[in-house]
């Protein structure tokens, strides 16, 4: 679970003196996850993530408690991979899967930890793009 997080985005050039502050990036704000939410990261193997999505979709078709649709979320660098996974799923489904993509902007928090006693800790907000792809099953005509 700890690994299942979005990679951090491109670094903002620190205009602050590194002698006075250390940059610590916080993890993106997390929402509670449904079982059919998949957060794509750059650390896990691509094939493994694809297989995981496939399994969720297939399992959903067979047993009733599964899910007919999944949401693939990708943040920053992982957007590419999220799209890739969704398209691969679609290509491998012989037309039974459809995708619908949404994009959004995620606020990320950078914490600036002071190195000297006299300074207050600061936080900066930086934006990063994210994609949320809904992959769902359609009955082929």
């Amino acid at each position: 679970m700890a690994e299942n997080r979005e990679p951090r985005g491109t670094p903002v050039e620190a205009e602050l003196d590194p002698v006075e502050y250390t940059l610590r990036k916080r993890l993106p704000h997390r929402l509670p996850r449904r079982p059919n939410d998949i957060y794509v990261n750059m650390k896990t193997d691509f094939k493994a993530q694809l297989a995981r999505c496939q399994k969720l979709l297939d399992g959903g078709a067979r047993n009733q408690n599964g899910c007919g649709e999944i949401y693939i979320h990708g943040l920053g660098l992982a957007i590419n991979r999220a799209i890739n996974i969704a398209l691969q799923l679609q290509a491998g489904s012989f037309g039974s899967l459809q995708v619908a993509a949404n994009t959004s902007t995620v606020e990320l928090v950078d914490e600036l930890e002071p190195e000297t006693d006299a300074r207050e800790p600061m936080t900066r907000i930086r934006n990063n793009s994210a994609i949320h792809i809904r992959v769902f099953r359609v009955t082929p005509k």
């Binding site: 002698v19 610590r24 993890l27 997390r30 929402l31 509670p32 606020e107 000297t116 006693d117 800790p121």
Partner: protein, 1009 residues
């Protein structure tokens, strides 16, 4: 073979009745048959002639019947006998020897005697073993010794007798009191108090003792690990759910006084080099918890005492310098004594206050029995109050205890000059730690903010006067509302890592026992709580505002009253049972206790690149006496409990140093290492020499301890010896490996000399010193360094600036250029000789805390050696990605012949060898342990084929990363040397070798700041 047979026979015959003799063997048997004639058929009618046992019986009978006069009696059942064919009658046949008749009475008499003899023989046990033990293995059943009915019916009677005997024996030393009397509340308390005289119990002790392996440590009884198999489950709880720990054994020191006085005093004990100090702005305001390293006054960078966390009490009126500030310093119990003494020294606190607030009444002490004396010392306020009420019935429940301090000792000290009051608040509070993302959900569900006391509820009878007062004040009431609002917001945050590190939140809550679920549930963070509104954003960015950190827990009197006025579990349950609707919510109204608590966010993993925020959580501080009242509700909300082992796993996965084991330069760390070495040695010696690793042959000099001093000294002398080589050293790290080999060879020479068995060890030691002496003097700069070093002791590099620099140098430069650039920043120096020398000049014998991640296989363990890879290892790794690593060749055992000689000498007299180096846990006074290096260690760095760089202190397979991970220290000198020698792309590659294995494994070194 025949001998054994005879013995067997003798055993068989031992308990035979005298009138029955057992003829041995078949031949005798036959002979008897031949001789008598009439004997044989006479038995045939008495017994069923089984072919197997029959022969034996026959032998017995026949031999006996020799004396009988009924030799020629007629067998009436001759036909039957023949038909059945009980035994083969031999070549001559049986028919002609059968007697004509027998007399019934005499025959029966004789048989009766025989039968009685046989019965006697059967009932008598042949050995002194238990009945069930005489059964053959295939007939034994589980719990046979316990349950008689599991035995075969024929043995049950005997077993019954035995069991009764055992019961009687047990009865003799039973307790004087009956079970009921022993279970009586007061008696149990007395007993409990007696049992925790030496090692104090935490409030959750009994809960833990039922579920955990308990250890006696640091003056407490602590749960080490759960008895259930739960290593992985606890890891999962930390990662995705919630792990609960009782950290009440942590010690709290309170400093009261003027802000600038406290800061002035304490600034001697810490350094800005190591990070923020007590004076950090956000900590000083009371908004955040701070953490730092404490040193002996003005001794930085040497003589570290240990790490500590601290919280300042927030000021109600900021900016007022005259007000008395309050500071809590939280410490590990092993560090407490040293740090307390040091704080007392720097604050010039000399006057002891005999329990400033509650002076013990001297009259009480002699009148009470011992337990109660102790008790009255522990809980003076309550005791005295009770006494005044005339409640002398018995000792009340001892809520607090402190294992790190003698109960009779003072716990407060004041300084006449600075006006600082230092008091020891150990065990005055409970500290529970919740780790994991669900800790928010558990906290918000288990704790309910206290109801505001309204005017119409009446005033007189309530014991919670302080809360009434607070509710009258509109300011504090609005503050309470704000705290409540923030606390509710927490439920919508899915991970504690999203809150700023060290955030403090004060609260006043209602009794957590009131709204307990009926049975254990799992708290889950609900999505509807997670509204991403402006308030949550504010909380995540700014943390809790300063005012909301206020809590009444800082006030000792309120805490005391809260502890005293706790409704006991018994009363609460009684009230619950008296409810009109069983199972409905208990409403106590104004009688419900209000408990001030403090919530402190604990940052998880903040350093490094991966798994940020892992293991973050909240600490809950509650007044003493309320431990179980918080503990059970947390568990009922789905928290899993971990012990010391889980705490170690947590700190290891967080890659943070463990206390006190990872502070080898602090007194507590040294003590810890000694104790650990002793235990490991004992464990090692318990095994026979053939069944334990021979560390001498494996080339492991110190399998049980890490000789840091040796290591640092060796590296220093090694570099001094090779100082001229540093001149020819190029900054790009392209210099020859032959140089490196020279280093190895050069350092190996004194080692070989010291290995010579004949020379007394002390002399060798001197020699080594003498060797390194002249070498030092070559370079003027280095000489200075050496002079500075010779007087100093070991220290660990903790300056953040230098660590950052080292961290950048440790990274392979070509692999991730962007990351390294980012880390380096603008002013980062290159790895040059000058830079190295300047660092080494300040820290000649320093260690660096590093984390190591294995590249491929291998799971390191503590005391694993960190070694410098040779050039060819790295080359081979580059060619073959699946290359595991080199192997250490087998070493010769120079002690083997010595041991033999010693054994021979032992016969003549006492061996007079006193080859023992001071402070060597491996060395022994008497015969050296086989398989261990005895005597002083030779050059540790060059003992093996790869030069030794350092040791691992914590290491295991990391479930968080999925490969082996280790934490440990390396010599700074050695590290710089290694980094300089390695090409840029392979920088930071090291080899790890566990003490009991010849296999080296590749690992990557990283310094996380």
């Amino acid at each position: 073979m025949s001998n054994a047979k005879e013995r067997k026979h003798a055993k068989k015959m031992r308990n035979q009745p005298t009138n029955v003799t057992l003829s041995s063997g078949f031949v005798a048997d036959r002979g008897v048959k031949h001789h008598i004639g009439g004997g044989k058929p006479s038995q045939a009618e008495k017994q069923e002639p089984h072919s197997g046992t029959g022969r034996l019986w026959q032998a017995k009978m026949t031999s006996h019947s020799l004396s009988e006069p009924d030799g020629n009696e007629l067998c009436s059942s001759k036909v039957m006998f023949k038909k059945k064919g009980g035994w083969k009658a031999g070549p001559e046949g049986t028919s002609q020897e059968i007697p004509k008749y027998i007399t019934a009475s005499t025959f029966a008499q004789a048989r009766a005697a025989e039968i009685s003899a046989m019965l006697k023989a059967v009932t008598q046990k042949s050995s002194n073993s238990l009945v069930f033990q005489t059964l053959p293995r295939h007939m034994r059943r589980r719990a046979m010794s316990h349950n008689v009915r599991r035995l075969p019916r024929r043995l049950q009677e005997m077993a019954q007798k035995e069991a009764e005997k055992a019961v009687h024996q047990k009865k003799e030393h039973s307790k004087s009191k009956c079970h009921k009397a022993r279970r009586c509340h007061i008696n149990r308390l007395l007993e409990f108090n007696r049992r925790q005289k030496k090692n104090r119990w935490l409030e959750t002790h009994i809960w833990h003792a039922k579920r955990f392996h308990m250890v006696k440590k640091w003056g407490y009884c602590l749960g080490d690990r759960p008895t259930v198999k739960s290593h992985r489950a606890c890891y999962r709880a930390m990662t995705s759910r919630c792990l609960l720990q009782d950290l009440s054994y942590y010690c709290c020191l309170e400093l009261k006084g003027k802000e600038e006085e406290i800061l002035k005093a304490l600034s001697q004990m810490c350094s800005v080099d190591t990070g923020l100090t007590f004076a950090a702005v956000h900590c000083l305001s009371g908004k955040r918890q701070g953490s730092l390293l404490l040193y002996r006054a003005n001794k930085y960078p040497r003589q570290v005492l240990g790490p500590a966390t601290f919280i300042w009490k927030s000021e109600m009126t900021p900016g007022d310098l005259a007000t008395c500030r309050q500071l809590w310093i939280w410490l590990h119990p092993t560090l407490k004594q040293d740090i307390l003494e040091e704080i007392k020294t720097v604050c010039q606190c000399v006057e002891t206050i005999r329990l400033a607030v509650d002076v013990p009444n001297p009259l009480l002490t002699p009148s009470q029995e011992k337990n109660q004396t102790e008790l009255s010392k522990e809980r003076n306020g309550k005791k005295r109050k009770r006494r005044d009420d005339g409640e002398m019935a018995g000792p009340i429940k001892k809520v607090a205890g402190d294992g790190t301090r003698d109960p009779l000792q003072p716990r407060s000290w004041v300084s006449p000059t600075t006006g600082i009051l230092v008091s020891d608040l150990t065990m005055e509070m409970n500290r529970f730690r919740l780790i994991g993302p669900l800790s928010h959900a558990i906290l918000t569900q288990a704790l309910k903010v206290a109801a505001v006391h309204t005017e119409e509820e009446g005033t007189g009878e309530t014991p919670h006067r302080w809360w009434m007062e607070a509710c009258k004040n509109p300011d504090s009431l609005s503050l309470h509302r704000r705290q409540e609002a923030i606390f509710e917001l927490l439920g919508g945050v899915t991970s504690p890592a999203e809150i700023p590190a060290g955030t403090v939140l004060g609260l006043t809550i209602g009794d957590p026992r009131i709204n307990m679920p009926q049975k254990r549930t799992k708290a889950l963070s609900s999505p509807e709580n997670c509204q991403d509104n402006e308030k949550v954003r504010q909380l995540l960015l700014e943390g809790v505002p300063v005012e909301c950190t206020h809590s009444f827990i800082w006030d000792q009197d309120i805490c005391k009253s809260v502890t005293e006025n706790k409704i006991s579990d018994q009363d609460l349950n009684r009230m619950r049972s008296e409810l009109l609707v069983p199972g409905s919510q208990l409403v106590l109204g104004p009688r419900e206790s209000k408990i001030p608590i403090l919530l402190i966010q604990q940052p998880g993993k903040v350093t490094g690149e991966d798994r940020l925020g892992w293991g973050s959580g909240w600490d809950v501080l509650s007044p003493k006496g309320w431990g179980m009242a918080f503990w059970i509700p947390f568990i009922y909300r789905g928290a899993r409990v971990g012990g010391l082992k889980e705490a170690a796993v947590h700190s290891q996965y967080k890659r943070s140093p463990a206390i006190p084991g990872d502070y080898p330069d602090s007194p507590a760390g040294i003590l810890f290492a000694e104790e650990q070495a002793r235990n490991l040695l004992e464990k090692y010696k318990r095994r026979p020499p053939a069944k334990r690793p021979n560390y001498v042959k494996l080339g492991t000099l110190a399998p049980f301890c890490c000789p840091w001093e040796h290591l640092a000294r060796d590296w220093e002398s090694r570099i001094c010896a090779q100082d001229e080589s540093w001149v020819s050293w190029s900054p790009d790290g392209q210099e020859s490996t032959s140089l490196g080999r020279d280093v190895v060879r050069g350092a190996a020479e004194p080692k070989r000399a010291s290995q010579a068995p004949g020379v007394p060890e002390e002399m060798m030691h001197m020699e080594c010193q003498a060797h390194s002496g002249p070498r030092r003097a070559r370079d003027p700069v280095l000489r200075e360094v050496c002079i500075a070093a010779s007087g100093t002791q070991l220290c660990v590099l903790r300056s953040r600036k230098l660590l950052k620099q080292l961290s950048a140098w440790c990274r392979p430069s070509s692999e991730d250029s962007r990351a390294s650039q980012r880390a380096r920043g603008g002013c980062q120096e290159k790895l040059t000789r000058e830079a190295c020398l300047s660092i080494l000049a300040h820290f000649p014998r320093a260690l660096v805390w590093v984390s190591l991640a294995l590249l491929r296989k291998g799971s390191p363990e503590p005391h694993t050696m960190v070694c410098v890879p040779a050039r060819e290892d790295v080359l081979q790794l580059r060619q073959d990605r699946h290359y595991c690593g080199p192997q250490e060749p087998k070493h010769s055992d120079p002690f083997k012949s010595k041991n033999l000689k010693r054994q021979q000498r032992k016969h003549e007299g006492r061996a007079t060898a006193t080859e023992l180096a001071a402070g060597e846990p491996v060395a022994e006074l008497e015969a050296p342990t086989r398989g261990l290096w005895s005597g002083p260690l030779p050059g540790v760095t060059a003992h093996c084929s790869r030069p030794l760089l350092g040791f691992v202190t914590q290491g295991d397979f990391s479930m968080a990363v999925g490969c082996g991970e280790a934490l440990g220290f390396v010599s700074l000198t050695g590290l710089l040397h290694m980094l300089a020698c390695q090409p840029a792309a392979q920088r930071g590659l090291v080899l790890l070798r566990p003490p009991a294995s010849p296999q080296y494994r590749f690992a990557r070194i990283a310094i996380e700041v």
